[in-house]
Protein backbone atom coordinates (compact mmCIF):
# COMPACT_ATOMS: atom_id res chain seq x y z
CA UNK A 1 0.00 0.00 0.00
CA UNK A 2 1.04 3.57 -0.42
CA UNK A 3 1.63 5.35 2.85
CA UNK A 4 1.42 9.06 3.34
CA UNK A 5 -2.27 9.03 2.53
CA UNK A 6 -4.48 9.57 5.55
CA UNK A 7 -6.46 6.60 6.72
CA UNK A 8 -9.98 7.26 7.89
CA UNK A 9 -11.05 5.44 11.03
CA UNK A 10 -14.55 5.68 12.48
CA UNK A 11 -14.11 5.64 16.25
CA UNK A 12 -17.03 6.25 18.62
CA UNK A 13 -19.01 7.70 15.71
CA UNK A 14 -16.36 10.25 14.78
CA UNK A 15 -14.19 10.01 11.67
CA UNK A 16 -10.49 10.45 12.44
CA UNK A 17 -7.87 11.05 9.73
CA UNK A 18 -4.77 9.07 10.73
CA UNK A 19 -1.38 9.48 9.07
CA UNK A 20 0.24 6.04 8.81
CA UNK A 21 4.01 5.91 8.79
CA UNK A 22 3.90 2.18 8.10
CA UNK A 23 1.16 0.07 6.52
CA UNK A 24 1.19 -2.24 9.55
CA UNK A 25 0.45 0.29 12.28
CA UNK A 26 -1.58 -1.49 14.93
CA UNK A 27 -5.11 -0.42 15.67
CA UNK A 28 -4.19 0.25 19.31
CA UNK A 29 -1.47 2.69 18.22
CA UNK A 30 -3.82 4.40 15.78
CA UNK A 31 -6.42 4.79 18.53
CA UNK A 32 -4.02 6.02 21.23
CA UNK A 33 -1.58 8.13 19.20
CA UNK A 34 -3.65 8.94 16.12
CA UNK A 35 -7.04 9.58 17.73
CA UNK A 36 -5.69 10.63 21.13
CA UNK A 37 -8.00 8.17 22.88
CA UNK A 38 -5.81 6.77 25.65
CA UNK A 39 -8.46 4.80 27.57
CA UNK A 40 -7.47 1.71 25.58
CA UNK A 41 -4.43 0.18 27.28
CA UNK A 42 -1.56 -1.86 25.89
CA UNK A 43 -0.87 -4.77 28.23
CA UNK A 44 0.83 -7.81 26.72
CA UNK A 45 0.77 -6.88 23.03
CA UNK A 46 0.20 -10.53 22.12
CA UNK A 47 -3.57 -10.92 22.52
CA UNK A 48 -3.40 -12.66 25.87
CA UNK A 49 -4.51 -10.01 28.40
CA UNK A 50 -7.45 -8.14 26.86
CA UNK A 51 -6.49 -4.68 28.21
CA UNK A 52 -6.61 -3.30 24.64
CA UNK A 53 -10.11 -4.65 23.86
CA UNK A 54 -12.24 -2.48 21.57
CA UNK A 55 -15.42 -3.25 19.68
CA UNK A 56 -15.12 -3.74 15.93
CA UNK A 57 -18.62 -3.63 14.45
CA UNK A 58 -19.95 -4.47 17.90
CA UNK A 59 -17.72 -7.49 18.53
CA UNK A 60 -14.82 -7.45 21.01
CA UNK A 61 -11.30 -7.68 19.62
CA UNK A 62 -7.78 -7.15 20.90
CA UNK A 63 -6.64 -3.95 19.17
CA UNK A 64 -3.01 -5.08 19.54
CA UNK A 65 -3.72 -7.91 17.05
CA UNK A 66 -5.36 -5.82 14.34
CA UNK A 67 -3.71 -3.53 11.80
CA UNK A 68 -5.51 -0.20 11.49
CA UNK A 69 -5.88 -0.67 7.72
CA UNK A 70 -8.00 -3.79 8.32
CA UNK A 71 -10.85 -1.81 9.88
CA UNK A 72 -11.34 1.18 7.58
CA UNK A 73 -14.81 -0.11 6.69
CA UNK A 74 -15.73 -0.81 10.32
CA UNK A 75 -17.20 1.01 13.29
CA UNK A 76 -14.74 1.07 16.17
CA UNK A 77 -15.91 1.67 19.71
CA UNK A 78 -13.42 2.26 22.52
CA UNK A 79 -13.97 2.43 26.25
CA UNK A 80 -14.62 6.17 25.89
CA UNK A 81 -17.55 5.43 23.57
CA UNK A 82 -18.82 2.49 25.59
CA UNK A 83 -18.72 4.39 28.90
CA UNK A 84 -20.75 7.19 27.29
CA UNK A 85 -23.71 4.84 26.71
CA UNK A 86 -26.20 4.40 29.54
CA UNK A 87 -25.38 0.68 29.74
CA UNK A 88 -21.64 1.39 29.83
CA UNK A 89 -22.10 4.09 32.47
CA UNK A 90 -24.22 1.71 34.58
CA UNK A 91 -21.48 -0.93 34.32
CA UNK A 92 -18.75 1.53 35.32
CA UNK A 93 -20.84 2.60 38.35
CA UNK A 94 -21.25 -0.99 39.45
CA UNK A 95 -17.56 -1.74 38.98
CA UNK A 96 -16.82 1.13 41.35
CA UNK A 97 -19.47 0.08 43.87
CA UNK A 98 -18.27 -3.55 43.82
CA UNK A 99 -14.61 -2.56 44.30
CA UNK A 100 -13.97 -4.44 41.06
CA UNK A 101 -10.63 -2.81 40.41
CA UNK A 102 -7.43 -2.00 42.18
CA UNK A 103 -4.70 -0.83 39.80
CA UNK A 104 -7.32 -0.30 37.09
CA UNK A 105 -5.15 -1.17 34.10
CA UNK A 106 -7.40 -4.01 32.93
CA UNK A 107 -10.63 -2.12 33.64
CA UNK A 108 -11.12 -0.43 30.23
CA UNK A 109 -10.86 -3.79 28.48
CA UNK A 110 -13.25 -5.37 30.95
CA UNK A 111 -15.78 -2.56 30.50
CA UNK A 112 -15.65 -3.01 26.71
CA UNK A 113 -15.90 -6.83 26.69
CA UNK A 114 -18.59 -6.95 29.38
CA UNK A 115 -20.61 -4.30 27.53
CA UNK A 116 -20.52 -6.43 24.38
CA UNK A 117 -21.82 -9.37 26.43
CA UNK A 118 -24.53 -7.28 28.11
CA UNK A 119 -25.70 -5.89 24.76
CA UNK A 120 -25.79 -9.36 23.22
CA UNK A 121 -27.99 -10.79 25.98
CA UNK A 122 -30.12 -7.72 26.58
CA UNK A 123 -33.52 -8.66 27.88
CA UNK A 124 -32.54 -12.19 28.87
CA UNK A 125 -30.99 -13.61 31.99
CA UNK A 126 -27.26 -14.09 32.30
CA UNK A 127 -25.34 -16.31 34.68
CA UNK A 128 -21.95 -16.43 36.31
CA UNK A 129 -20.64 -18.94 33.74
CA UNK A 130 -21.60 -16.73 30.78
CA UNK A 131 -19.79 -13.75 32.32
CA UNK A 132 -16.70 -15.81 33.09
CA UNK A 133 -16.66 -17.27 29.55
CA UNK A 134 -16.99 -13.82 27.95
CA UNK A 135 -14.30 -12.31 30.19
CA UNK A 136 -11.84 -15.24 29.97
CA UNK A 137 -9.67 -13.14 27.66
CA UNK A 138 -9.47 -10.21 30.08
CA UNK A 139 -6.83 -10.81 32.72
CA UNK A 140 -6.93 -9.03 36.09
CA UNK A 141 -4.07 -9.57 38.51
CA UNK A 142 -5.59 -7.57 41.38
CA UNK A 143 -9.16 -8.55 42.10
CA UNK A 144 -9.50 -12.31 41.77
CA UNK A 145 -12.43 -11.63 39.39
CA UNK A 146 -15.29 -12.22 41.87
CA UNK A 147 -16.19 -8.51 42.24
CA UNK A 148 -15.88 -8.01 38.46
CA UNK A 149 -18.31 -10.85 37.77
CA UNK A 150 -20.65 -9.46 40.45
CA UNK A 151 -20.57 -5.99 38.86
CA UNK A 152 -21.42 -7.39 35.42
CA UNK A 153 -24.28 -9.50 36.83
CA UNK A 154 -25.62 -6.48 38.73
CA UNK A 155 -25.57 -4.44 35.51
CA UNK A 156 -27.36 -7.23 33.66
CA UNK A 157 -30.27 -6.95 36.08
CA UNK A 158 -30.61 -3.26 35.24
CA UNK A 159 -30.33 -3.99 31.50
CA UNK A 160 -33.12 -6.57 31.76
CA UNK A 161 -35.30 -3.96 33.49
CA UNK A 162 -34.93 -1.57 30.55
CA UNK A 163 -32.88 -1.50 27.33
CA UNK A 164 -29.95 0.88 27.56
CA UNK A 165 -30.04 4.00 25.41
CA UNK A 166 -27.20 4.25 22.97
CA UNK A 167 -26.44 0.56 22.82
CA UNK A 168 -25.59 -0.42 19.27
CA UNK A 169 -24.77 -4.11 19.70
CA UNK A 170 -25.49 -6.17 16.65
Amino acid sequence: MIVGQPLQLRVNGTVHDIELEEPDVLLIDAIRSGCGLTGTKLGCGTGDCGACTVLIDGMPANSCLVYAVEVVDSEIETVEGVAATSLGAALVDRIVVADALQCGFCTPGIVVTASALLRSVQGSAIDDAAVRCALAGNLCRCTGYAPIVAAVLATAEVAIAGPARGATGS
Binding site: M1, G47, A136
Partner: protein
Amino acid sequence: MLVERSLEYRAARTVAEAIDLLAFEGAHVLAGGTDIVTLRASGALHASRLVDVKRVASLSDFTTDAGAITIGATATLDHLGRALGPSALVDGARLVGGWQTRCRATIGGNLCRASPAGDSLCGLLVDNASLHLQSVRGDRQVPARDFFTGPGRTVRDSDELLVTIELPASRGASAYARFTYRNAMDLAIVGVAVRLSMTSGVCDDASVAIGACGPTPMLVPEAAAQLVGTIVDDAAVAAAAAVAAAHARPIDDVRGTATFRRGVIEPLAQRVIREAHRRVMLVEEGSR
Protein backbone atom coordinates in the same frame (compact mmCIF):
# COMPACT_ATOMS: atom_id res chain seq x y z
CA MET B 1 5.16 12.44 0.27
CA LEU B 2 4.26 9.09 -1.20
CA VAL B 3 6.67 6.31 -0.29
CA GLU B 4 6.51 2.71 -1.48
CA ARG B 5 7.08 0.50 1.52
CA SER B 6 8.54 -2.98 1.53
CA LEU B 7 5.27 -4.22 3.03
CA GLU B 8 2.19 -3.91 0.91
CA TYR B 9 -1.33 -4.34 2.29
CA ARG B 10 -4.06 -5.28 -0.17
CA ALA B 11 -7.70 -5.99 0.67
CA ALA B 12 -9.42 -8.31 -1.82
CA ARG B 13 -13.16 -8.06 -2.51
CA THR B 14 -13.54 -11.26 -4.49
CA VAL B 15 -11.90 -14.68 -4.56
CA ALA B 16 -10.60 -13.94 -8.08
CA GLU B 17 -8.95 -10.76 -6.85
CA ALA B 18 -7.50 -12.53 -3.80
CA ILE B 19 -5.88 -15.34 -5.79
CA ASP B 20 -4.46 -12.82 -8.29
CA LEU B 21 -2.90 -10.91 -5.39
CA LEU B 22 -1.53 -14.14 -3.90
CA ALA B 23 0.29 -15.10 -7.11
CA PHE B 24 3.21 -12.96 -6.00
CA GLU B 25 6.52 -13.78 -4.30
CA GLY B 26 6.25 -13.01 -0.58
CA ALA B 27 2.46 -12.70 -0.56
CA HIS B 28 0.70 -14.02 2.53
CA VAL B 29 -2.99 -14.40 3.31
CA LEU B 30 -4.25 -12.21 6.17
CA ALA B 31 -7.51 -13.47 7.66
CA GLY B 32 -8.28 -12.81 11.35
CA GLY B 33 -4.67 -11.85 12.00
CA THR B 34 -4.63 -13.21 15.54
CA ASP B 35 -1.58 -15.35 14.75
CA ILE B 36 -0.05 -13.38 11.88
CA VAL B 37 0.31 -10.10 13.77
CA THR B 38 2.32 -11.74 16.57
CA LEU B 39 4.27 -13.98 14.16
CA ARG B 40 5.30 -10.95 12.10
CA ALA B 41 6.15 -8.92 15.22
CA SER B 42 8.42 -11.70 16.51
CA GLY B 43 10.16 -12.09 13.16
CA ALA B 44 8.87 -15.64 12.70
CA LEU B 45 6.93 -14.73 9.56
CA HIS B 46 8.06 -12.49 6.72
CA ALA B 47 5.63 -11.16 4.15
CA SER B 48 6.13 -8.49 1.53
CA ARG B 49 2.43 -8.42 0.71
CA LEU B 50 -0.49 -9.11 3.02
CA VAL B 51 -3.65 -10.08 1.19
CA ASP B 52 -6.61 -9.37 3.48
CA VAL B 53 -9.44 -11.77 2.59
CA LYS B 54 -11.94 -10.70 5.28
CA ARG B 55 -13.84 -8.44 2.88
CA VAL B 56 -14.53 -11.23 0.39
CA ALA B 57 -18.20 -11.51 1.34
CA SER B 58 -18.74 -15.00 -0.09
CA LEU B 59 -15.96 -16.45 2.09
CA SER B 60 -17.69 -15.89 5.43
CA ASP B 61 -20.93 -17.71 4.61
CA PHE B 62 -22.23 -21.11 5.68
CA THR B 63 -24.40 -23.17 3.41
CA THR B 64 -26.15 -26.43 4.15
CA ASP B 65 -27.40 -28.86 1.53
CA ALA B 66 -29.10 -32.13 2.51
CA GLY B 67 -27.05 -32.37 5.67
CA ALA B 68 -23.73 -31.40 4.08
CA ILE B 69 -22.27 -28.16 5.40
CA THR B 70 -19.99 -25.83 3.46
CA ILE B 71 -18.16 -23.36 5.69
CA GLY B 72 -16.50 -20.28 4.22
CA ALA B 73 -12.86 -20.08 5.27
CA THR B 74 -13.21 -16.64 6.87
CA ALA B 75 -16.14 -17.58 9.09
CA THR B 76 -15.01 -16.56 12.57
CA LEU B 77 -14.71 -19.15 15.32
CA ASP B 78 -17.25 -17.16 17.35
CA HIS B 79 -19.75 -17.28 14.47
CA LEU B 80 -19.14 -20.99 13.94
CA GLY B 81 -19.61 -21.71 17.64
CA ARG B 82 -22.99 -19.96 17.67
CA ALA B 83 -24.38 -20.90 14.28
CA LEU B 84 -23.87 -24.66 14.18
CA GLY B 85 -25.08 -27.42 16.50
CA PRO B 86 -22.68 -29.41 18.66
CA SER B 87 -19.95 -31.32 16.83
CA ALA B 88 -16.23 -31.93 17.28
CA LEU B 89 -15.44 -28.97 15.01
CA VAL B 90 -17.74 -26.62 16.93
CA ASP B 91 -16.47 -27.87 20.31
CA GLY B 92 -12.97 -26.98 19.13
CA ALA B 93 -13.97 -23.57 17.75
CA ARG B 94 -15.51 -22.64 21.11
CA LEU B 95 -12.31 -23.49 23.00
CA VAL B 96 -9.86 -21.34 21.06
CA GLY B 97 -8.44 -18.34 22.94
CA GLY B 98 -10.73 -15.81 24.53
CA TRP B 99 -13.88 -14.23 23.11
CA GLN B 100 -11.83 -11.40 21.56
CA THR B 101 -9.72 -13.93 19.67
CA ARG B 102 -12.71 -16.00 18.54
CA CYS B 103 -14.42 -12.88 17.18
CA ARG B 104 -11.47 -12.24 14.83
CA ALA B 105 -9.88 -15.66 14.26
CA THR B 106 -11.21 -17.60 11.28
CA ILE B 107 -11.67 -21.32 10.79
CA GLY B 108 -9.48 -21.16 7.67
CA GLY B 109 -6.75 -19.40 9.60
CA ASN B 110 -6.87 -21.96 12.40
CA LEU B 111 -6.49 -24.78 9.86
CA CYS B 112 -3.76 -23.18 7.76
CA ARG B 113 -1.80 -22.27 10.89
CA ALA B 114 -1.66 -26.07 11.41
CA SER B 115 -0.60 -25.97 15.03
CA PRO B 116 -0.38 -29.58 16.28
CA ALA B 117 -2.47 -28.28 19.22
CA GLY B 118 -5.04 -26.47 17.04
CA ASP B 119 -8.46 -27.14 18.55
CA SER B 120 -10.46 -27.24 15.32
CA LEU B 121 -8.15 -29.68 13.54
CA CYS B 122 -9.11 -33.01 15.12
CA GLY B 123 -12.79 -32.31 14.53
CA LEU B 124 -12.13 -31.78 10.86
CA LEU B 125 -10.42 -35.16 10.66
CA VAL B 126 -13.21 -37.13 12.31
CA ASP B 127 -15.91 -35.21 10.43
CA ASN B 128 -14.16 -36.27 7.21
CA ALA B 129 -13.90 -32.70 5.92
CA SER B 130 -12.62 -31.73 2.51
CA LEU B 131 -10.76 -28.48 1.93
CA HIS B 132 -11.23 -26.50 -1.26
CA LEU B 133 -8.09 -24.66 -2.36
CA GLN B 134 -8.03 -22.18 -5.20
CA SER B 135 -5.20 -20.41 -7.01
CA VAL B 136 -4.59 -18.86 -10.41
CA ARG B 137 -3.27 -22.31 -11.38
CA GLY B 138 -6.60 -23.97 -10.66
CA ASP B 139 -8.76 -25.58 -7.98
CA ARG B 140 -8.27 -28.68 -5.89
CA GLN B 141 -10.01 -30.53 -3.08
CA VAL B 142 -7.83 -31.93 -0.33
CA PRO B 143 -9.19 -34.33 2.30
CA ALA B 144 -8.46 -32.94 5.78
CA ARG B 145 -6.52 -36.12 6.60
CA ASP B 146 -4.02 -35.24 3.84
CA PHE B 147 -3.84 -31.52 4.58
CA PHE B 148 -1.46 -31.34 7.57
CA THR B 149 2.19 -32.24 6.97
CA GLY B 150 3.95 -30.98 10.11
CA PRO B 151 3.89 -28.31 12.80
CA GLY B 152 2.76 -25.14 10.98
CA ARG B 153 2.91 -26.94 7.64
CA THR B 154 0.21 -28.01 5.22
CA VAL B 155 0.00 -29.07 1.57
CA ARG B 156 -1.31 -25.59 0.72
CA ASP B 157 1.05 -23.68 -1.57
CA SER B 158 1.68 -20.04 -0.77
CA ASP B 159 -0.34 -18.84 -3.76
CA GLU B 160 -3.35 -20.97 -2.80
CA LEU B 161 -6.34 -19.65 -0.90
CA LEU B 162 -8.39 -21.96 1.31
CA VAL B 163 -11.88 -21.06 0.11
CA THR B 164 -14.24 -23.47 1.84
CA ILE B 165 -14.33 -26.38 4.25
CA GLU B 166 -16.84 -29.00 3.18
CA LEU B 167 -18.36 -31.37 5.75
CA PRO B 168 -20.17 -34.28 4.10
CA ALA B 169 -23.63 -35.27 5.26
CA SER B 170 -23.31 -38.12 7.71
CA ARG B 171 -25.26 -39.88 10.37
CA GLY B 172 -24.06 -39.90 13.93
CA ALA B 173 -22.44 -37.26 16.04
CA SER B 174 -19.00 -36.08 17.05
CA ALA B 175 -17.32 -34.40 20.02
CA TYR B 176 -13.95 -32.87 20.90
CA ALA B 177 -12.33 -32.07 24.22
CA ARG B 178 -8.86 -31.13 25.30
CA PHE B 179 -6.83 -31.13 28.47
CA THR B 180 -5.46 -27.79 29.62
CA TYR B 181 -4.14 -26.54 32.96
CA ARG B 182 -6.46 -23.54 32.87
CA ASN B 183 -10.11 -23.47 31.86
CA ALA B 184 -9.54 -20.91 29.10
CA MET B 185 -6.83 -18.97 27.28
CA ASP B 186 -4.63 -22.04 27.11
CA LEU B 187 -3.29 -24.38 24.45
CA ALA B 188 -4.23 -28.04 24.36
CA ILE B 189 -1.81 -30.31 26.19
CA VAL B 190 -3.64 -33.09 24.37
CA GLY B 191 -6.92 -33.13 22.45
CA VAL B 192 -9.25 -35.90 21.29
CA ALA B 193 -12.09 -35.91 18.75
CA VAL B 194 -14.47 -38.82 18.21
CA ARG B 195 -17.27 -39.46 15.72
CA LEU B 196 -19.71 -42.32 16.18
CA SER B 197 -22.65 -43.54 14.21
CA MET B 198 -25.01 -46.12 15.63
CA THR B 199 -27.70 -48.40 14.22
CA SER B 200 -30.11 -50.01 16.69
CA GLY B 201 -27.71 -49.28 19.53
CA VAL B 202 -24.69 -50.83 17.81
CA CYS B 203 -21.81 -48.71 16.54
CA ASP B 204 -21.50 -49.15 12.77
CA ASP B 205 -18.87 -46.49 12.12
CA ALA B 206 -16.38 -44.61 14.25
CA SER B 207 -13.50 -42.24 13.90
CA VAL B 208 -10.95 -41.15 16.53
CA ALA B 209 -8.37 -38.37 16.17
CA ILE B 210 -5.79 -37.11 18.64
CA GLY B 211 -4.13 -33.70 18.74
CA ALA B 212 -0.92 -32.35 20.28
CA CYS B 213 0.30 -35.96 20.26
CA GLY B 214 2.56 -35.77 17.22
CA PRO B 215 3.69 -33.33 14.54
CA THR B 216 0.17 -33.16 13.13
CA PRO B 217 -3.27 -34.06 14.46
CA MET B 218 -3.84 -37.67 13.47
CA LEU B 219 -6.54 -40.24 12.96
CA VAL B 220 -6.16 -43.47 14.92
CA PRO B 221 -8.20 -46.02 12.94
CA GLU B 222 -7.02 -48.79 15.31
CA ALA B 223 -8.80 -47.00 18.18
CA ALA B 224 -11.96 -46.49 16.10
CA ALA B 225 -11.94 -50.22 15.22
CA GLN B 226 -12.32 -51.03 18.93
CA LEU B 227 -15.71 -49.27 18.89
CA VAL B 228 -17.26 -50.59 15.67
CA GLY B 229 -19.60 -53.52 16.29
CA THR B 230 -19.95 -52.75 20.01
CA ILE B 231 -22.70 -51.05 21.96
CA VAL B 232 -20.00 -48.59 23.12
CA ASP B 233 -20.05 -50.10 26.60
CA ASP B 234 -17.38 -49.54 29.24
CA ALA B 235 -15.15 -52.31 27.86
CA ALA B 236 -15.19 -50.91 24.33
CA VAL B 237 -14.61 -47.35 25.57
CA ALA B 238 -11.65 -48.50 27.68
CA ALA B 239 -10.16 -50.55 24.83
CA ALA B 240 -10.47 -47.73 22.29
CA ALA B 241 -8.97 -45.15 24.68
CA ALA B 242 -6.04 -47.46 25.51
CA VAL B 243 -5.30 -47.97 21.81
CA ALA B 244 -5.51 -44.21 21.16
CA ALA B 245 -3.00 -43.59 23.97
CA ALA B 246 -0.71 -46.32 22.64
CA HIS B 247 -0.63 -44.62 19.21
CA ALA B 248 0.14 -41.14 20.59
CA ARG B 249 3.62 -39.84 19.74
CA PRO B 250 3.80 -36.80 22.02
CA ILE B 251 6.90 -34.73 22.72
CA ASP B 252 8.32 -33.22 25.89
CA ASP B 253 7.80 -29.48 25.90
CA VAL B 254 7.10 -26.59 28.23
CA ARG B 255 3.44 -27.57 28.54
CA GLY B 256 3.98 -31.18 29.50
CA THR B 257 6.17 -34.22 29.19
CA ALA B 258 5.48 -36.98 26.70
CA THR B 259 4.84 -39.38 29.59
CA PHE B 260 2.32 -37.01 31.15
CA ARG B 261 0.55 -36.55 27.81
CA ARG B 262 0.29 -40.29 27.29
CA GLY B 263 -1.20 -40.55 30.76
CA VAL B 264 -3.81 -37.89 30.02
CA ILE B 265 -4.88 -39.11 26.60
CA GLU B 266 -6.53 -42.30 27.85
CA PRO B 267 -9.04 -40.81 30.34
CA LEU B 268 -9.63 -37.87 27.99
CA ALA B 269 -10.41 -40.23 25.11
CA GLN B 270 -12.84 -42.15 27.33
CA ARG B 271 -14.63 -38.95 28.20
CA VAL B 272 -14.89 -37.82 24.56
CA ILE B 273 -16.12 -41.23 23.36
CA ARG B 274 -18.87 -41.08 26.01
CA GLU B 275 -19.84 -37.54 24.97
CA ALA B 276 -20.01 -38.52 21.28
CA HIS B 277 -22.09 -41.54 22.30
CA ARG B 278 -24.45 -39.36 24.35
CA ARG B 279 -24.89 -37.04 21.36
CA VAL B 280 -25.42 -39.82 18.85
CA MET B 281 -28.10 -41.39 21.04
CA LEU B 282 -29.89 -38.02 21.19
CA VAL B 283 -29.80 -37.85 17.39
CA GLU B 284 -31.07 -41.44 17.12
CA GLU B 285 -33.93 -40.76 19.53
CA GLY B 286 -34.77 -37.51 17.74
CA SER B 287 -35.01 -39.24 14.36
CA ARG B 288 -37.43 -41.92 15.55
